[in-house]
Amino acid sequence: MAEKNLEPIIKERRVFITGNEAVAWAGVAARADIMYGYPITPQNEIMHYWTRLAPKYGKGFLQTEDEISAGFATVGGVLAGKRAFTATSGPGNILMQDSMSMAEMMRIPTVMIITQRGGPSTATVIYSQQETTLTCFGGNGEGIRIVYSTASHQELFDYTIKAFNTAWKYRFPTFVLGDGYQSKMRESLTIYDPVERGIELVPAEPFLGKGGVAGLDRPPVHLRNTYNMEDELYEVVRELVDAYNAVAHEIVEYREMETEDAEILIVAHGIVSRAAEGAVARLRKDGYKVGSFRPITLRPFPAEQLRKCADRAEKMLVVESAEGQLKKLVTDAIYGSTTPIETLFRPGESITVEEIISAVKGL
């Protein structure tokens, strides 16, 4: 990663841009080497901005024939030792799970940005939180992956950079889960060069093509995801799960607001958590003892932390733009807690501060 000059790759500045542009800039800031992608709304502008930025920074891009190919080409780019990434949404996310399950099995540090659109099927190109389950558990396995759910353009930028670091540090496929709103809306954020800020970038290294003559200078690298015997596979998966669980506590991130004395605990992730926090601020002014808990990592999930808040509350309100996908994660995390759970589900539709306020008042 030799830099051509000592100037920061991105001059730190405040900008007013779309989320897709923020992701493309973050890719540059994270020293991503190459993006593979296939057009799908609302992800497209990530590619549009990347293809404008990439040549200026000596970075690559390939538009593939479909998302299956984009996902597997990303796997290839990572195996070659490059910081490779892709981005998709909805039906494209479904197709990419094929490659992401390979990345899970072989611990290939791919980075994938997801801009959730409505589902199931083609649905809308606009917005939802209906790709939560798919993004967390989309493979034919245990969900051995890291998923960051962002709520603002600043976070899209920060967590896209972080995703490369997390992926290469822990060697698990890493996802940044945004949505169509975050993609298309404009708001302000500060873009910066992480190196300038002293953020260490975890170096990429090749899995294949390590140099020297295989079999002469070193043993050949033979990578597979197929196993012959069930006990053989069990050991592999056991090792994967153990490795994942061992570092999960280092990876989990969450955000609490006014939970200390909260009688009502609102749980929301992604952009909906903004509405939840807005509702908490306004309800507190009206004297309601309400707080909010937001998992930032959906995989691994901040289960213990949520459990503590849940146990203190009298009631929980799970709010999401899906029909219970976050709730499944929540109930799994707090299993055994007797705090009742109420819900505000709006699959494929936005949720406003006002709607959450009235839901809390109606509890």
């Binding site: 080497d33 190459i34 593979y36 690559g60 390939l62 593939t64 024939e65 479909d66 299956i68 190919s69 984009a70 996902g71 597997f72 080409a73 990303t74 796997v75 290839g76 780019g77 195996l79 070659a80 030792g81 490059k82 490779a84 094929d98 490659s99 390979m102 090749p206 899995f207 294949l208 093509g209 390590k210 140099g211 020297g212 003559v213 295989a214 079999g215 002469l216 050949p220 690298v221 033979h222 990578l223 597979r224 995801n225 197929t226």
Partner: protein, 253 residues
């Protein structure tokens, strides 16, 4: 330790004898490929990718950095590697199901984009690892587990002519051929020509190889070679379909 017969240096001895069935065509393809790589002296930078199906058994076959991928997805993985590190020589190895059915969109588009990789496809007319179902290359009237009364082209179409298709969609710099395990010398020369294209950075090469599967064909040695050399070649013409620099004669002109 058992005494091993002579084999290419590029074969990884720790995993020999190999795991393919007796009489399988794959080891022959991989022998010709090994000699081609050795003769070109590119062992230090060649990456081998294999698909699902019997081709996956090649995952630890060579003294080469190797990745076994998903069914049909070896082409995009090798494309991804090549695009990220153009100095590597990338070979995608698959069967007829991987290349012509589940991964056909990847083959077609990699060919159209003239990706600088080599795709090697073993055509044995059946899905072998899954137990002998009809493949895109199953011959008319050929019996398989899913065409127990013989393949009916009326209902299932005609066998895929891969090299003919790839030759039609690639630019003139591409190299396209169909070899056979019955002619290993010729096959090796096809591989060398394909790899040479890649070494020179001139683009896509595609080599289909007619290969035998006595296990699923339920044939003895004589029947196997008869099917391979006589039945298959009647439909699948062996030879070069696109050779860069070769002057094309258009008789209609």
């Amino acid at each position: 330790m058992a005494v091993l017969p002579p084999m290419p240096k590029l074969w990884y001895r720790e995993t020999k004898p190999h795991k393919f069935c007796p009489g399988c065509g794959h080891p022959l393809v991989l022998k010709a490929l090994a000699y081609a790589i050795e003769e070109l002296g590119i062992e230090d930078r060649t990456i081998f990718g294999c698909d699902i199906g019997c081709s996956l058994l090649a995952w630890d076959f060579f003294n080469l950095d190797t990745v076994q991928t998903h069914h049909g997805r070896t082409t995009p993985v090798m494309v991804g590697i090549k695009r990220a590190r153009p100095e590597l020589i990338c070979i995608a190895y698959m069967g007829d199901g991987g290349g012509y059915a589940i991964g056909s969109q990847h083959l077609v588009n990699a060919a159209v984009r003239n990706e600088n990789i080599m795709v090697v496809l073993a055509n044995n007319t059946v899905y072998a690892m899954t137990g002998g179902q009809m493949a895109p290359t199953t011959l008319p009237n050929q019996k398989t587990e899913t065409t127990p009364y013989g393949r009916d082209p009326e209902k299932t179409g005609n066998p895929t002519l891969g090299p003919e298709m790839v030759a039609a969609i690639t630019p003139d710099t591409a190299y396209v051929a169909r070899g056979t395990v019955a002619k290993l010398g010729q096959l090796k020369s096809f591989f060398k020509k394909g790899l040479q294209r890649q070494i020179e950075g001139k683009g896509f090469s595609f080599i289909e190889v007619l290969s035998g599967c006595p296990t699923n064909w339920r044939t003895n040695a004589e029947e196997t070679w008869n099917f391979l050399e006589n039945e298959m070649t009647r439909y699948f013409k062996v030879g070069e379909f696109k050779v860069p620099g070769q002057v094309k004669e258009d008789k209609n002109e």
